[in-house]
């Protein structure tokens, strides 16, 4: 069973509507919404998956 560290956020793929729901819930403040695009700090992210549930359109996948 892979540990959390081995998982990664695949993408905020084509489904992303740049709404920022994931930004507000991220417990580590590592997701950001710059002018239009969602991004995240890979070094800070613990792959906790909270953002996956907060996303209304299922744009975030953790593999």
């Amino acid at each position: 069973m892979p540990g959390k560290r081995d998982r990664h956020i695949d993408s905020f793929g084509e489904t992303c509507i740049s709404c920022g729901a994931c930004v507000g819930i991220c417990p580590l403040n590592c997701i950001y919404l710059d002018e239009w695009r969602i991004g995240f700090d890979e070094d800070v992210c613990t792959r906790c998956g909270i953002c996956v549930r907060a996303c209304p359109v299922g744009a975030i996948t953790i593999a």
Binding site: I17, C19, A21, V23, Y32, D34, V52, R53, P56
Partner: protein, 396 residues
Amino acid sequence: MEDISCDVLVVGAGPAGSMTAKWAARHGAQVVMLEKRQEIGSPVRCGEGISKSWLPEVGITPSPRWINVEVEGARIFSPSEKVMEINEKHAGNEVGYVVERDAFDKALAIDAANAGTTILLKTHATGVLKEDGKVRGVRAKHFGEPFTIRAKVTVGADGFESQMGRWAGLPTNLQLRDMDSCLQYRMTNVDCDARYCDFYLGKVAPGGYVWIFPKGEGIANVGIGVQVSQVKSAAEVKSYLDRWIQKHPGYAKGKTIDMVGGGVSISQPVKQSVLPGFLLVGDAARMIDPLTGGGIANGCIAGKIAGEVAARAVQSGDASLEALLEYDRRWRQALEEKLLRNWIAKEKLVSLPDATFDKIIDALSGVKLEKLSVLNILKAVRDKYPEVTQEFEAFL
């Protein structure tokens, strides 16, 4: 971009930010307001329903430039679609106008600009400047070019997805149960009643509701909020909304012309909204009404107070924690009692089974409430379904 300095720096040009900027400038402060996007108010991420009662106290004059529809009331639908109607006089935060939110935000920014605020578009904060335990401004990028802005008072008005508070050192973290994940379609060719804002409760939207806010001419905002702790799989929020629309022929025949999403906090407000040289305001300070999900009124009311307190701090040369706590005290006086009451009500509602929603709405649909208060609601429900209100006997 050269480094700049100012008296009051406001990060975010939503309603709370523009209000803060306007009132700080009116009280003589030199104000700079940042907006990360190229256009204030766009893209809209909002249901666009607001009440009217609070507008005069914060100095907003209703304008046809941003009012779509003036509604008469709200209708609340139980899971079996029994209806309770609340007229405008008794309705809470969400009834009054359905607004064109981008035009509304621009109107407030124009007020701020007319009061003397400098507005920088395409400028986003990337971090907070801190010296000797005091917030002294931000690092930012303007058209991608890094620079710093120094300020005597810095205000975080950066909305639900606020980073300013956490950068400055105020905990604004939310648990899964403290947030609704929202999605809304603007639909045309739908059969909505333009006299009402409609709300659908129960399992159709666990821990939230489905809303229909009319925009006129057969157009409506059809949206949903679902408590994140009740979301079980990815994209479930969209599935809930699509399912609701499919079950309602008057909406299933409509066409979607716009789609927006976003988060809404349904928590209590932040425990601390002030640091030396720093204020947090609006959605960023978790001032959203946890029952209705409305954030505009509270953000504007707190924004006016923030602007006044920030300007006074500049004038007196004292932006210490003690001086700025005046802001914390005053917004809590204005908002906290209702926020707490509605949080308690929300905590109860998110756990109710559909059958209980049906009983409550059924009991209330038949009575004309003089005043919409928790006590009056409980009494009306008790008369018809005493078992529902058993645990509230102490209040009655």
